[in-house]
Amino acid sequence: MALFSNTATLLGKELRTEFRSRELLTTTVVFILVVLILFSFAINPTSEESREYGPGLLWLAILFAASLMLQPCFLREQGNDTLSSLRLAVDDPFAIFLAKLIANTLFLLLTELLMLPLFAAFYNIPILPKLHYLLLVLFLGSFGISVVGTALSAISAQARMRELLLPLLLLPLLTPVLVVSATVSVSLLDREPVIQWKGIAFLAVFDLVFLTALWIFGEYLLEE
């Protein structure tokens, strides 16, 4: 139970830090917007092509944005060496990860919710018919990105060239998320939508595998 109360307190701290400045959210929203517009310039899709490639581009934009957004996650704690205090304050260091990854998932989901109407308008794809399923895919995908991303940002924060290193470590690891979320989204946004439960289950399995790995190995990532 201590894990949950610790996580809740730390989550409150993460959210307060972010919503005081909203730096991360604003920059990520603008970043995704820029990428989506540049994609459209680069390939100039017809309406059929938009349906076929649009969701993949959206996920690629989310992935790139996440790899930038997750940078400060642990770096932030280095300035005043607050990480050591955090470690002393909680029984289980997994609480630190859990709070950070829930916060990151929420930030990602929030940016996605803000982006979705613009994406629908720019790429001329109606998103409303299967919106609840789309939100489920967005949640599972973002959760997977956050689990892996939070773990890896703890690694990259302790290395040189960290700004370049995090995307380099993160993006290949997230290939399964990109592949599956993009396909599931494409078939959801099709003219005749299909719900690929197998893909949704796969995303849940991915999330679970890495959440378990983080639970087992997380404490070593924060070793002094």
Partner: protein, 224 residues
């Protein structure tokens, strides 16, 4: 020293014998012709590479558990050898594919996951160059190695949902698959030879890593 030289000599002789076998002992394949002979080298390298990565994964786990630097040396040695062998696989594959499929590359499950595997271990080795302190480097790269290895089956599963162009497994495949007996013998001999060769490379690389470490320790002592 003598043992290592002996191992090296045996490994090189075995690879030469296996190459001879793949050119002169194995019968020419009926439809593909001579180009099929690259299959022995290709498959043997792939198997040896997978086993090298498996050794790396086990060493990563053992390092996190036991904190003995020897496991880290063995992990980096096998990761490097595995990476070289995967590079061989990625080069010999297209050489075969171009005349047979008419294309150099296709985004099918096995090709793509091999490529992602290659990228993951490039990141693993890159990460190691970006952390100074030896213990931290060993620990963090071990943890990344564990994450990367867990990712491999997920990458493969995710991409498999698309069409697949790679020939279905001939060894341990379903009914109707299988190799002509001489071809099978040559293949297994080549696989054995490549494993011995990989072992030789890993041992040499391990000794090198150990020497590097000794030099580091001496240097630090001299400075202190």
């Amino acid at each position: 020293m003598l043992k290592r030289m002996l191992l090296g000599a045996v490994a090189i002789l075995l690879v030469i014998a296996a190459t001879y076998g793949s050119f002169y002992v194995a019968p020419t394949e009926r439809t593909m012709g001579l180009i099929q002979r690259i299959f022995y080298f290709h498959v043997a390298s792939a198997w040896a590479a997978m086993d090298a990565f498996a050794v790396c994964f086990v060493c990563n786990l053992l390092y996190v558990w036991k904190r003995n630097a020897k496991f880290d040396w063995l992990a980096v040695s096998s990761a490097e050898v595995g990476l070289v062998l995967t590079t061989v696989v990625l080069i010999t594959g297209p050489i075969w594919a171009h005349p047979v499929w008419g294309i150099w590359w296709t985004w099918d499950a096995r090709l793509t996951s091999t490529f992602v595997l290659w990228l993951l271990y490039v990141s693993y080795l890159l990460l190691r160059t970006l952390i100074e302190e030896p213990d931290r480097k060993a620990l963090l790269s071990s943890l990344f190695g564990i994450f990367a290895f867990l990712d491999v089956p997920l990458v493969f599963g995710a991409i498999r949902w698309w069409r697949t162009q790679h020939p279905s497994p001939v060894i341990m495949g379903g009914p109707g698959s299988g190799l002509e007996p001489t071809m099978k013998k040559v293949l297994f001999f080549f696989v054995f030879a490549m494993h011995v060769f990989a072992l030789f490379l890993i041992v040499e690389r391990y000794v090198l890593e150990k020497l590097k470490n000794d030099v580091d320790v001496l240097q630090r002592e001299a400075e202190a």
